[in-house]
């Protein structure tokens, strides 16, 4: 009896310890340092420096713009891709090959992949070559150092997440439900929007949240593809830590990013919950 209770204690205590040790303590350290200064103790000066300054708001806007567009594009591309994998591919081995192809890049380093895109997106890179030979453009487009370039790199890295979460949700939707909708007079598009899509919304949301939080805190891809011409919050924070060694100001940047992110995700999930009554359990 006593030993059983002890086991239970450790079973509960270990995850709590790990969670505290790996997540809460580092976060606490950052939080505390963001509210303190070496000379005059508790202060809001770092936040004031961020929130009362136009340049910072500009960086925040860029960061959110890139993250939101990455999310929208990943969902918009991920849904049809997931549909293709789940609904159209009949051959099981081909589906498996597609999934492997999709996940494989996740196992290689972010840096390597971003360098790859640097090469591809360059003035005489593969992308410009292709666009020119197709006659779509007649002068090379500038991708590197633009938000478009960063977006391309981000979408490439983050797309698998939405494909996987949406695909999982889609595979669980009973196709008989769509047939029932058609039987009751819905066109294929109607059946999709009124039945299939709401039933996969939790997968869309899960994918969107993963992509958004990874995009908003991304450092490597924006840093490599920005060519120093675009700055996002994570780059700013990293500079404070690595070159200026200002942990307090850097911490405040990180916390600002975190709070804004959580606020946006909270807002988004509240909005979608309002729109699908009774979808809670599915």
């Amino acid at each position: 009896m006593a030993s059983a209770r002890l086991t239970l204690f450790w079973l509960l205590a270990l995850p709590v310890l790990v969670f505290t040790g790996f997540f809460l303590i580092p976060l606490g350290v950052v939080l505390v340092s963001s509210f303190t200064a070496p000379e005059d103790g508790l202060t809001l000066a770092h936040y004031a420096r961020i929130l009362l300054d136009a340049y910072h708001w500009q960086v925040i806007a860029t960061t959110f713009r890139i993250a939101i567009f990455s999310t929208l594009i990943c969902v918009a591309l991920g849904y049809p891709l997931a549909w293709y994998l789940v609904r159209i591919v009949q051959l099981r081995s081909w589906r498996r090959a597609c999934v492997i192809l999709l996940v494989l890049p996740l196992f290689t380093s972010n840096i390597v992949r971003s360098f790859g895109w640097m090469v591809l997106l360059g003035r005489s890179g593969l992308v410009n070559d292709a666009l020119m030979s197709l006659g779509l453009i007649d002068r090379p487009m500038r991708f590197l150092g633009t938000e478009t370039g960063i977006l391309i790199g981000m979408v490439y890295i983050l797309l698998p997440f939405t494909v996987l979460t949406i695909g999982t949700a889609l595979a669980r939707v009973d196709r008989g439900l769509e047939q029932a909708a058609r039987d009751l007079g819905a066109t294929p598009a109607r059946a999709f929007w009124s039945v299939t899509f709401p039933l996969t919304l939790h997968g869309v949301m899960a994918g969107a949240i993963i992509v958004f939080s990874m995009a908003i805190s991304a450092y490597v891809t924006p840093a490599l593809l920005s060519g120093g011409k675009v700055t996002v919050l994570a780059m700013l924070a990293f500079q404070q830590y690595s070159t200026v060694f200002d942990f307090h100001y850097g911490g405040a940047l990180s916390i600002t990013l975190l709070v804004l992110t959580l606020a946006l995700i909270g807002l988004a999930s509240r909005m979608t919950r309002g729109r699908t009554p009774g979808a809670g359990g599915h």
């Binding site: 009973d174 008989g176 439900l177 047939q179 029932a180 909708a181 058609r182 039987d183 009751l184 007079g185 819905a186 066109t187 294929p188 109607r190 009124s194 039945v195 709401p198 039933l199 699908t276 009554p277 009774g278 979808a279 359990g281 599915h282």
Partner: protein
């Protein structure tokens, strides 16, 4: 008047014929059961009529109009699916109002119709519930309400009762039949259960291996089966030569009488010597299994089996030749 004409439908899956030249005319207001062993093509036929599948050959006509090329949403019929296929993200009311909404009604009017349909199946009080929070029988009724709310001319039901327990099933059989008569909707009802088909149908269509074997009123199917398959599939059958030798006829077990050896037969009856191989007494009827030469026969009568009717005894099996129905007629 013919409502639905299934005209020479053939459908193959990878060379296997799921439907083989099926032709069937169904009248307005009829209750037709599709009966047949698993895999004989009942669901395939229903899906072809509903428009979820296109036939390789043949046509589907509703009210004289060829609907073979129309998508499901444009066919004037509705379906009750075997697993009900209720929308899990909608309330019961929203499920039932889905059809009227697609027919272009405003939300308020659609919901009023839905309430009416729910009333009809006795679920008016549960309209705000989630389908997942209902019993199988209740979900069944929701599916039914959803399918009849638009008052289709034709309702297709694919084994709608198969997931229910026996008692509920019997009750639903009666309610379904009442609803069908009340609304005057034509029902095509797929079932595995021959008693169910016998009890509910105006006509029964018996299928086997993609072919329509026979479509007739229940008593005609039972009394005058056209093929050996139908005779064996519906009820139990003895097969005996029509006159001494030659083609065989069907004799139902209740028309076969077991008499002691040497007893005189009623005038005009035929008798053959047989040996009792087994006797059972089930549900108020007794079954006597006989062997007449190489033939196995079954005689059924109400009440207890006659005294001394034990395995091994030699008897005579007698019947009125008028009850011996020739196959193929």
């Amino acid at each position: 008047m013919t409502l639905l004409a299934i005209d020479d439908i053939t459908k193959s899956f990878a060379g296997h014929k799921a439907l083989d030249h099926v032709t069937l005319d169904i009248r307005q207001g009829e209750f037709i059961s599709l009966l047949g062993p698993s895999g004989c093509g009942k669901t395939t036929l229903l899906r072809t009529v509903a428009g979820f599948m296109t036939a390789d050959k043949g046509r589907i006509l509703i009210d004289g109009e060829d609907v073979s090329r129309l998508p499901p949403e444009r066919r004037p019929l509705n379906t009750v699916f075997q697993n009900y296929a209720l929308f899990p993200h909608m309330t019961v009311l929203e499920n039932v109002a889905y059809g009227p909404r697609r027919a272009g009604l405003a939300r308020a009017e659609a919901e009023r119709r839905a309430e009416e349909a729910l009333e009809m199946v006795g679920l008016a009080a549960m309209s705000r519930r989630n389908p997942a929070a209902m019993s199988g029988g209740q979900q069944q009724r929701v599916a039914l309400a959803r399918a009849i709310v638009n008052r289709p001319k034709l309702l297709l039901l694919d084994e709608p009762l198969s997931a229910l327990d026996l008692q509920l099933r019997k009750r639903m059989q009666i309610e379904l039949k009442q609803l069908q008569v009340q609304l005057g909707i034509t029902f095509i009802f797929v079932t595995h259960d021959q008693d169910e088909a016998m009890a509910m149908s105006d006509r029964i269509a018996v299928m086997s291996a993609g072919r329509l074997e026979q479509c007739d009123a229940p008593e005609a199917i039972y009394r005058r089966p056209r093929t050996r398959f139908v005779a064996e599939f519906i009820g139990e059958a003895n097969f005996l030569p029509l006159d001494g030798a030659g083609p065989e006829g069907v004799l139902r077990p209740e028309d076969l009488r077991v008499l002691p050896e040497g007893e005189a037969l009623p005038p005009g009856w035929r008798g053959l010597p047989a040996r009792v191989t087994g006797v059972t007494y089930v549900g108020g009827t007794s079954n006597i299994y006989l062997a007449a030469g190489p033939r196995e026969l079954l005689a059924r009568s109400y009440g207890l089996p006659p005294a001394g009717m034990t395995a091994g005894r030699t008897v005579q099996a007698g019947f009125d030749p008028a009850n011996l129905h020739p196959l193929g007629a």
